[in-house]
């Protein structure tokens, strides 16, 4: 009988909660480490671009207190991935500062490894010139201008930088941008668990209790890994896993349900078997790990797209609704002239977009039925410009003409928009966009990542 490693995921995301008693139970059952993911690209490019973490800080601190407290009590490592939601340098620093506070307040003593995954533009230019940056699909165009104009870039680490930190005695690892799976695969692979087992278990664990049959609330998940497979079982007795619930989780947020691309290779679950071994536990075997010819890490980057100001309005008049597309396109043309006359913006300095809820506001160009069929629509006048001042100045040049824009059925001054607020508009702030969907081919999986140490 070989090694058995017990892995615990505190929850799916550090900013959501979990039951403290579930974590205590899992740790008492002999967990070898506790992991938790702290981020995602799911909430869009804002966090990476701005450098702002996603809170609430108080909630993240409370969850970290429980995770780190339990790990230190049991003398096992805690591994936190994608600190501060986007895993850039300011996000990592934010999380490390919370850990410092906790260490002080609780009188804890431990060795902390913080792994920085932000890539400086100069480093990225060098990698680009060496032809180490390769596109995924679909990828935006990428060149040195994109690198220079980007606001912030991170590389998504695999298991290796975490393993280096653990091997050097880290009790708490706070990682910048990190593969969710790597959080849970790093330690087991170090202990001799095959990659196909460790990566597959990582995929199931990374969303916490999301792989249970009936997710009642966010909670912990645990798995025991050995050389031939793993058994997943929620530590909370109120929750249970079924073969279907575990297998179904491989679908989640993954474009291909059988193929999970990770730094260094891919997990192929085509032949995986999911078997109930009790009414709450599932045994998983049969995944394959196929090593990549060349080790690579995904790069994420955000660029500033401009500054946004918006107006919210309702339209209820059936005659306007009956000709809404024409009404808005003729308004668009009229206000473009007005903006040019009044503000003389540089070409391309702003975009004006009418978002119509009740037509295609939710699905945009993917809406198969882009016709308003209800008795009212909601309108967002969306301006994104090269400065906040310009976006703000453009707004009244759109909403005021729009308010009185004529239709042929009416003679005399009309008021087309119902504004729920005064003032009708609001400045939203900086807007970012993801500017890269590429991988970086590496000779050394740890090369882009820098670990700093603190002892408390």
């Amino acid at each position: 009988m070989g090694n058995k490693i017990k892995a615990v995921a505190a929850t799916g995301n550090l900013s959501t909660g979990f039951r403290e008693e579930s974590l205590v139970r899992a740790v008492n059952q002999g967990a070898h480490f506790v992991g938790c993911d702290g981020g995602s690209t799911d909430s869009g490019p804002y966090y990476l671009g701005s450098g702002n973490p996603r809170g609430p800080r108080q909630g993240v601190k409370r969850n970290l207190q429980r995770i780190l407290g339990e790990s230190l009590r049991a003398g096992i490592p805690a591994i936190i991935g994608t600190a501060g939601h986007a895993g850039g340098r300011p996000h990592l620093q934010w999380a490390v500062e919370i850990v410092r506070e906790l260490a002080r307040e609780n009188g804890w003593h431990f060795k902390l490894a913080a792994i920085d995954s932000e890539i400086d533009q100069g480093t990225l230019v060098k990698a680009f010139r060496k032809d180490q940056i390769k596109p995924l699909s679909p990828a935006p165009p990428f060149n040195e201008d994109v690198i220079r104009e980007g606001q912030r870039f991170v590389a998504m680490m695999g298991i290796e930088p975490i393993q280096c930190a653990l091997a050097s005695g880290a009790q708490i690892v706070i990682a910048g941008r990190c593969s969710d799976v790597a959080i849970y695969a790093a330690l087991p692979v170090m202990q001799g668990i095959p990659k196909h087992v460790a990566f597959h278990a990582g995929k199931i664990l990374e969303c916490g209790a999301a792989s249970v049959a009936q997710r009642l609330y966010a909670d912990c998940m645990a798995a025991e890994l050995d050389e031939s497979g793993f058994t997943v079982e929620p530590p909370n007795p109120e929750l249970r896993c079924t073969p279907q619930s575990v297998a179904a989780h491989t679908l989640y947020e993954n474009a291909d349900p059988y193929m999970l691309i990770e730094p260094g290779g891919r997990l192929d679950t085509t032949a995986a078997r999911y078997e109930a071994i009790s009414d709450r536990a599932v045994r998983v075997t049969g995944g394959q790990f196929v090593a990549a010819e060349k080790y690579s890490v995904r790069i994420e980057g955000a660029a500033l797209a401009g500054y946004r100001s918006i107006v919210i309005a309702g339209i209820r008049d059936p005659l306007i609704l009956g000709q809404l597309d024409h009404f808005l396109s003729s308004l668009h043309a009229a206000v473009e002239r007005k903006i040019a006359d009044n503000l003389a913006p540089l070409p391309g300095a702003y975009t004006l977009n009418f978002r119509v809820y009740g037509r295609d506001g939710t699905m945009g160009p993917l809406e198969p039925n882009p016709r308003p069929e209800g008795h009212e629509v909601g309108l967002i006048i969306d301006v994104v410009a090269s400065s906040q001042e310009l976006a703000s100045d453009i707004l009244p040049l759109v909403w005021h003409p729009g308010l009185h824009h004529p239709i042929p059925e009416y003679q005399g001054l009309i008021s087309n928009f119902a504004f729920p607020f005064s003032p009708p508009g609001v400045d939203v702030g900086a807007v970012y966009r993801f500017c890269v969907n590429h991988v970086w081919e590496l000779d050394d999986p740890c090369a882009p990542f820098r670990t700093t140490w603190e002892t408390f």
Partner: protein, 104 residues
């Protein structure tokens, strides 16, 4: 004729990273899964028509083990981009819910 949602326990869309959307249609039972597959309402051709994407852009998986039809398409507008409408990609499944399923 019944609508697709009447055969399913879950219909959802979601980002698969910022550049792709993925759709999961999970069935209540084997009979419903078989009937819907046979009806063609979730064929690659049908999906291409609903979402206005080319056939070769669709990755479609019929996963018998968990009675699920899954497909993924590239995003025309990346998540959070200036003209994006759904940052999490969570509402793009809407047009699937009431698809009419032919029953023999």
């Amino acid at each position: 004729m019944r609508e697709l949602w009447q055969f399913t326990k879950l219909i959802r869309s979601k980002n698969a990273g910022p550049f792709e959307l993925t759709f999961d249609v999970m069935f209540k039972d084997r009979a419903g899964y078989d009937l819907v597959l046979k009806s063609g309402v979730l064929s690659a051709e049908a999906i291409a028509k609903i979402y206005g994407v080319a056939l070769e852009e669709i990755r479609l998986f019929n996963i018998e083990q968990i009675l699920t039809v899954k497909f993924s398409i590239p995003r025309k507008v990346f998540s959070g981009d200036v003209s994006d409408t759904d940052v999490y990609g969570g509402q793009f499944h809407g047009p699937l819910v009431r698809l009419l399923v032919d029953e023999p």
